[in-house]
Every structure is written in structure tokens, then in C-alpha cells.
Symmetry: C2
Subunit: 197 residues, 2 copies
DNA sequence: GTCTATACTGAGATAGAC
DNA sequence: GTCTATCTCAGTATAGAC
């Protein structure tokens, strides 16, 4: 069919279901049904539910790295790269309105479960944080790069949470526009400092 | 001892545990242990877990209304009232770093569970939204009051989510300061419009 | 109002046949 | 690699004694 191994299919189904239903609320029955295998067969591929979670986090990590690399390749200007990040809110609008941010909601859930994989999930946040910080450094904001990165990250989390609660597309669009203006103002202030790579 | 009925004790324990551990992850055993009653006795007070959730949401709703009224009473100026809201992030810093925002994380969880109480939980957000909007109207921002309210609400959600993920007090303080400056700039622009109540 | 005992269910996990 | 059957356990919920 699609050439994907059963293991890969399981991870992708789990990825989707953990996002839509939460980790704890998703049962082996749910996943095996989605992949069309028996529950028993499951344990040939994964020894426990936590192992699937690890695999899902790893998959998300790799996909995020790929995404960030793509943005870097396609945008010469660091400001445009940051805009690519902000624009996920528009690109993934429907999913975010339905289920929130995949990173934020997973970290939040694992935190409440006091789950050992919480630290790994938080690394997804770190990935964005580091990358955004790097772009702000390239924009000349060397001293405040990390602060600015966290600010943009917090913005995206706040918008995702409320978009989910209120199911409000117009709100998302408006906030993304606001953030765009804020990014403009940041650049204008320091236009003479730009060093691109 | 403290004059509280068993029912009240149950609701308060559930309120705390739902916040710390999540709704689904909190069992009757957890709550009954916290209140020091038997699991069986539980069902004299509540017919199901969902009934406890309803009671918890109702409690949070009433407490939020009380809080908003207090802020209105203690601050004549709408701007100071909004600052009171923003300052919850500092006041409840430790809890937020440990468990996130009680409203945001509950709404997010109930959304994933596809739980019927999600709409009621979202009303907690509505309460803040309406109240903040009212303050912005008093500040003279009649046309954009709701947009500004959502902006402040999104800010608080974003900061709470990242504060929880990164356990970062300094980040919280910095973002609250930034928001304070933003609120100042909003007021300066329209100082001549102020009408207080 | 509170307790113990117990029924029922669903979920994670294992064993072993094919 | 995949299946069925089964175990174990936690969690919700009920019945009935006190």
C-alpha cells in the first residue's frame, strides 16, 4: 500500500491520537483499531505505552528539526524565518482550533501525570526556543535573543490556547498581524545592525 | 474542626487535585484519601465523577467572580484593575510554574477528552474576557475592548504555559513588566478619553 | 452519613498458537 | 509478524450493614 512498516504506522497513529485525545485517554484499543492490527500484535513492536510515547516524541522532534531547516533554507532573512514560525498558527489553524498546540498540550498533560517523559517533551519547546533565539541574534539582538525567543513562543502558546477555547479564527489572524507589526518595529529599531548568514 | 461539610471538603480536594493531577488522572481513591473518607461514602454526596467536575467548575466560577469584584472594589482605575489580573501570574507564580494555569489546563484537558463539561469550563475564560473587556471600555477603547481583552488573556495563557514548561520565574517577571509597559502605552495614547465609574 | 464488601468495566500487559 | 486467549489491576459504581 504505502510501504510503511507496521511500527511506523503505529507511531503515526499514536502521534495523531495523542494529539487529538491526549496521551492517557488514548488506549491500545484506539491505536490498534486505527492501524487495523490486534492489540496483541502491539507488544511485538512496543513493550509498553511509554515506549510508544517516547517514539512519538522522537518523531515530533525530528519533524520539527526538518521544519526549522526548511524555513532556514527557504528564507534568507531571519525576520522572514521568524514569520514562518508565527504563521504556523495560520497554516495549522483548523487543527489548533480543534486540539490546541501539539507541543503545549502534550507538555501540559505530561506535567500533570508527573510522567518521566515530560523532560523529553519539553525539549520540543527548547528546539523552537534555540532556533528563534538564533534568528534574533542574526537580527542583531544578541543580548536579548533568548528573551525575544521566549516572548514569541509565549505568544504562540497563548494564541493557540484561546483559539482552541473560543474556536475563533479571526482572533488568530488578528494576533498574528499584531505579532507581525511587533516584529517590524523590532527590526526598524536596529536595521543598521543586520548581519545575515 | 473547620466547620466545612464533607461535601465542601470533597469539592475543595477535587478542585486542588484536578488542578495538580488533571481530571482524568485523579481517581476517587485520591480524593477520598485527601478528605479521609471511604470511597463508598463518596457516592452519598456525588452520583458520578462528572458531578464532582461540575461542582468544581461551579466553585471556580464563583471564586473567580468574587476575585473580579474584589479587584473592582480595590482599584478605582480600570488600568489598575487590569494590572491586578496580569499580576496573578506573579501572585500565583509557584503554582503556575508547578501546574500551569488552572483554567487553561482544564479547558485543554476537557477538550481532548471530548467531555461535555468543556463548555462550562470555557465559561471561566468568558468571565475574564467579559470583565477585561469592560475595563477596556472604561479606558475609552470601546471599539477594540474585546480584542484587547483577548490579547491580555492570550498573554497570560502563553506565559503560564511556558512558565510551567521551563520553570522560569525570571521569564514571568519580565513578561509581566512588558505587559505593564504595553498597558501604559495604551493609556497614554488615549488619556483624554478616560471615563471612570 | 459513613462504612465494608463487592460487582463491573476497561486498560495495560503476557503466553503461546499460527 | 500477527493472532486469540487470558491475566492482572485500577477505577467507577452499587448494595446493604451500621
Amino acid at each position: 500500500m504505502n510501504g510503511k512498516t507496521t511500527r511506523e504506522q503505529i507511531i503515526e497513529a499514536a502521534d495523531r491520537l495523542f494529539y487529538q485525545q491526549g496521551f492517557e485517554h488514548t488506549s491500545f484499543a484506539d491505536i490498534s483499531q486505527a492501524v487495523n492490527i490486534s492489540r496483541g500484535n502491539f507488544y511485538y513492536h512496543f513493550k509498553s505505552k511509554d515506549e510508544i510515547l517516547d517514539a512519538v516524541i522522537k518523531l515530533r522532534f525530528l519533524r520539527t528539526q526538518t521544519l526549522l531547516n526548511t524555513w532556514e533554507k527557504h528564507n534568507q532573512h531571519p525576520l522572514e524565518r521568524i514569520r514562518s514560525f508565527v504563521n504556523i498558527l495560520i497554516m495549522n489553524q483548523n487543527k489548533i482550533i480543534s486540539y490546541g498546540c501539539p507541543v503545549g498540550t502534550l507538555c501540559s498533560e505530561l506535567n500533570k501525570l508527573n510522567h518521566s517523559a515530560e523532560a523529553d517533551a519539553n525539549k520540543l519547546f527548547d528546539l523552537f526556543r534555540q532556533w528563534l533565539g538564533q534568528q534574533f541574534i542574526l537580527l542583531g539582538h544578541v543580548d536579548t535573543a533568548d528573551e525575544l525567543a521566549l516572548h514569541v513562543l509565549a505568544f504562540s502558546q497563548g494564541v493557540a490556547t484561546l483559539a482552541n477555547a473560543f474556536s475563533d479564527e479571526i482572533f488568530v489572524q488578528r494576533e498574528v498581524n499584531n505579532m507581525g507589526k511587533w516584529l517590524d518595529s523590532l527590526t526598524i529599531e536596529t536595521q543598521h545592525n543586520h548581519i545575515f548568514v
